[in-house]
């Protein structure tokens, strides 16, 4: 037998009780349908009717094409379809097609075909109320058709459904005689002009209550063709502007992008499966990383030599401040070990791997979460295993991140407590003395995240999300106050520079931006960056980030002022993407992980590139 992961072992064991064929979708959709019906009160129907009349009046007054074109200009996508890949000319249904069987008429009203999807609109009319499952049948026991439609190509191959907007199921709550469905399916190859839409049964109806196995021939033409029936969906609005391919901005006009080629990049190691984010030792001599499903901890010299296995399972680890030891949590045990594999010392056997251990700044103690199977409690212990102290534990409160203050005498930590139905969670930032006394609450709020710490360790930067707004705060860890910083809108993954003066973030439209902490002097660095993979250079002057180019991730470095763009064209091998950049402590080297995109090959690699000041 092939070697399994622990997850696969449990999955196989559970499969004897929960077979692969289980499908909750019909039960869940039926439940939602029931709730929708209850919600659809008469006054809502009236409001909807009024709105519909207004909308129709508007369309009649200025014409649908005008409305559609306005939408195109506004959003740049195919209305009713969404953002699609228009790299090839889109096509549409040549003419509507109808079939009537036993009084039920199925009409394929429109279709739009792009390079990445196929969207089909189908109307079903003449459905008898008796065809729906009776409402008296308890939810969960109702039998109804949920078999997805598909497209059959002339050679017999099939294209499956990707998304189903299943108004049929919902309309059944009202006993509707008519329903409209929008289905998104896999893309039809550009050389295929005719397909057959196959509908095993009408969604939402009782099995056998209506004709089944519908097969409707469809023919497609270019959206620019003028061969469709008058008044038919030939007027289906189509965007005229192509979706932009990932492109980098030109932050420093006239400055060519420097390309670091593969020959200048050194492969340090290859993992059995996946490499974790590489972690430099504080002295820059070593790189630690985990490898494989069980997260075996490996350490290698910074030049990739002498790779050695330190622990076959290491969920969490942390370098000591001087880089001479690692604290590791493995299967409930906390221990320390030198990076050469010597000096193994078990400190505690109740360690939880919810969070990584954290060394005190003087390297004398380690904070960790201890658990004997119950609620994890914040604890600390000397590096020789003595003086175990339990610091904080509150029922039902999850502890997350924690860190020492520079004076070695206090620990700040984040908590989350969730209550109620619907559940509401409150996050908190707290401070406690290392003897367990002096508990202080520094900040509390919903959707609060700790973003980073100031370089001197005396302040924490947090962000709080309320609706679409995301507000940053700077919290003085001595309890002396909190200051509000930038308020952003739908930003993603903000990162504060090491000197605490600038923020980078990914805007909702995918731009990689930089601004002052108060939100002023906001500029776009590049037009396309992948959320979550940026990394500030230690001195705050450069930033590494990842951009998606033609489906692959590529690594870039840019100066904080927008100049000096460097493409680390790293792996330079198709099918791999580069990500997880991390600077060495001296800022001279950038390590990163290159990973395969397909599941057929799963060996990640760690690379390093020298990028002098």
């Amino acid at each position: 037998m092939n070697k399994k992961t622990s997850s696969q072992v449990f999955d196989t064991a559970a499969r004897n009780h929960i077979p692969d064929s289980v499908d909750l979708a019909p039960r869940i959709l039926a439940h939602i349908q029931e709730k929708k019906r209850a919600l659809m009160q008469s006054h809502l129907k009236i409001i909807l009717a009024v709105l519909t009349v207004i909308l129709l009046f508007t369309v009649l007054m200025i014409g649908w094409p005008t409305v559609a074109q306005a939408l195109q200009r506004l959003f740049g996508y195919l209305p009713g379809v969404g953002v699609v890949d228009l790299s090839v000319e889109p096509r549409k249904l040549a003419e509507p097609v109808s079939q009537t069987r036993d009084g039920i008429t199925l009409t394929v009203e429109s279709a739009i075909l792009s390079a990445d999807l196929t969207v089909i609109e189908v109307k079903v009319e003449g459905i008898p109320a008796s065809a729906y499952p009776p409402e008296s049948t308890p939810i969960g026991q109702r039998q109804m058709c949920s078999s997805p439609v598909f497209l059959r190509l002339p050679d017999g191959a099939t294209l499956e459904m990707v998304v189903r907007s299943n108004q049929a199921l919902l309309s059944s709550a009202f006993g509707a005689a008519e329903s409209k469905n929008t289905w998104t399916l896999e893309p039809v190859p550009t050389n295929i002009k005719t397909v057959t839409l196959v509908m095993p049964c009408i969604l939402g109806l009782k099995p056998g209550a209506a004709p089944e196995n519908w097969e409707v021939p469809l023919r497609f033409v270019s959206v620019n063709a003028n061969d469709s029936a008058p008044g038919a969906p030939s007027q289906l609005p189509v965007a005229t502007q192509a979706i932009p391919t990932p492109t980098l901005a030109t932050p420093a006009a006239g400055t060519p992008t420097q390309v670091v080629t593969a020959s200048e990049i050194k492969k340090l190691t290859e993992c059995d499966t996946s490499c974790s984010w590489p972690v430099w030792s504080p002295d820059g001599r070593y790189i630690a990383y985990t490898n494989g499903d069980l997260q075996a901890l490996w350490v290698m010299d910074a030049d990739g030599s002498n790779p050695r296995l330190l622990s076959s399972i290491a969920r969490r680890f942390a370098w000591s401040p001087d880089g001479t030891q690692l604290a590791i949590i493995s299967v409930g045990r906390l221990f320390v070990i030198h990076p050469d594999g010597t000096g193994l010392l078990a400190l505690n056997e109740t360690a939880s791997d919810w969070a990584a251990p954290v060394w005190s700044p003087d390297g004398k103690r380690i904070a960790f979460l201890a658990s004997d199977g119950n609620q994890p409690r914040l604890s600390s212990i000397d590096v020789d295993g003595n003086n175990l102290r339990s610091l904080y534990n509150q029922p039902h409160e999850m502890l997350d991140l924690f860190f020492w203050l520079p004076d070695n005498r206090q620990i700040a930590f984040t908590t989350q407590i969730c209550r109620g139905n619907p559940m509401k969670c409150i996050d908190g930032l707290k401070l406690i003395d290392i003897d367990g006394s002096g508990l202080q609450s520094l900040h509390a709020g919903e959707n609060m995240s700790l973003q980073s710490l100031s370089q001197d360790g005396k302040q924490a930067y947090i962000n709080e999300r309320t609706g679409e707004d995301e507000v940053f705060y700077r919290v003085n860890l001595d309890g002396s106050g909190t200051a509000q910083l930038a308020a952003l809108l739908s930003e993603q993954y903000p990162q504060i520079s090491p000197d605490g003066t600038r923020i980078t973030c990914n805007s909702s439209d995918g731009y990689f931006e930089i601004m002052n902490l108060d939100g002023t002097d906001r500029r776009t660095l590049v037009k396309q960056a992948i959320v979550g993979f940026s990394s500030w250079w230690p001195d705050g002057k450069r930033i590494a980030f990842v951009s998606e180019i033609q489906g692959e991730y590529q690594l870039y470095v840019i100066n904080a002022d927008g100049s000096g763009l460097v493409n680390v064209n790293a792996a330079n091998h198709p099918g791999y993407s580069d990500a997880l950049p991390v600077w060495s402590p001296d800022g001279l080297h950038l390590a990163f992980v290159s990973s395969p995109l397909s599941t057929d090959q799963d060996k990640s690699q760690i690379y390093i590139v020298d990028l002098p000041h």
């Binding site: 929960i18 692969d20 289980v22 199921l169 919902l170 972690v279 430099w280 942390a318």
Partner: protein, 185 residues
Amino acid sequence: MDDVQAIRCLKRGDIGGLEILIARYQLKAIRTAFLITHNESAAEDVAQDAFIRFFEHARHFDEQRAFRPYFMRSVVNLALNLVQKESKGLQFSGDDDTSQLEVLLARAVSVETQVEFSQLSHEMLEILFKLSPRQRAVIVQRYYLEMSENEMAEALEIAPGTVKWLLNAARTRLREMLGVERSAR
């Protein structure tokens, strides 16, 4: 379609987004619940409840959060609440020692024959169901859901552009960095 796109569909009122999530996560969710509740029917109810709750609150879902760990944590909590409610007064093995289970798991990971594997997995479940519900939940989260840095490893096997994974990886990294940076002081 990745999780983010599915959730955005859902937020727009497109039930298809929920169907995508159900198709993608239902088996994992039901088996997770089963490993905690030791009851097939209850496990299905738990998973169904989790999906419906998510559907009802999807509009408030913070897209910066990775869906999978968020959802699976919800499944774990629902299963735990259910089994704790139903197991009031029942006794479980007192010491919650999971070492025997972990030894069996280590063997099962590299076992050579199907027969031996079946026996080991059977023994594993027997031991698992003797643990307290809370300890079961811990084991399931650690070894079945692999809810830690492994989220990143798993996600490396799926299509690019999966922003949820990226966010999750970023958070993992933040944890690591905080540990390292703090320890470097």
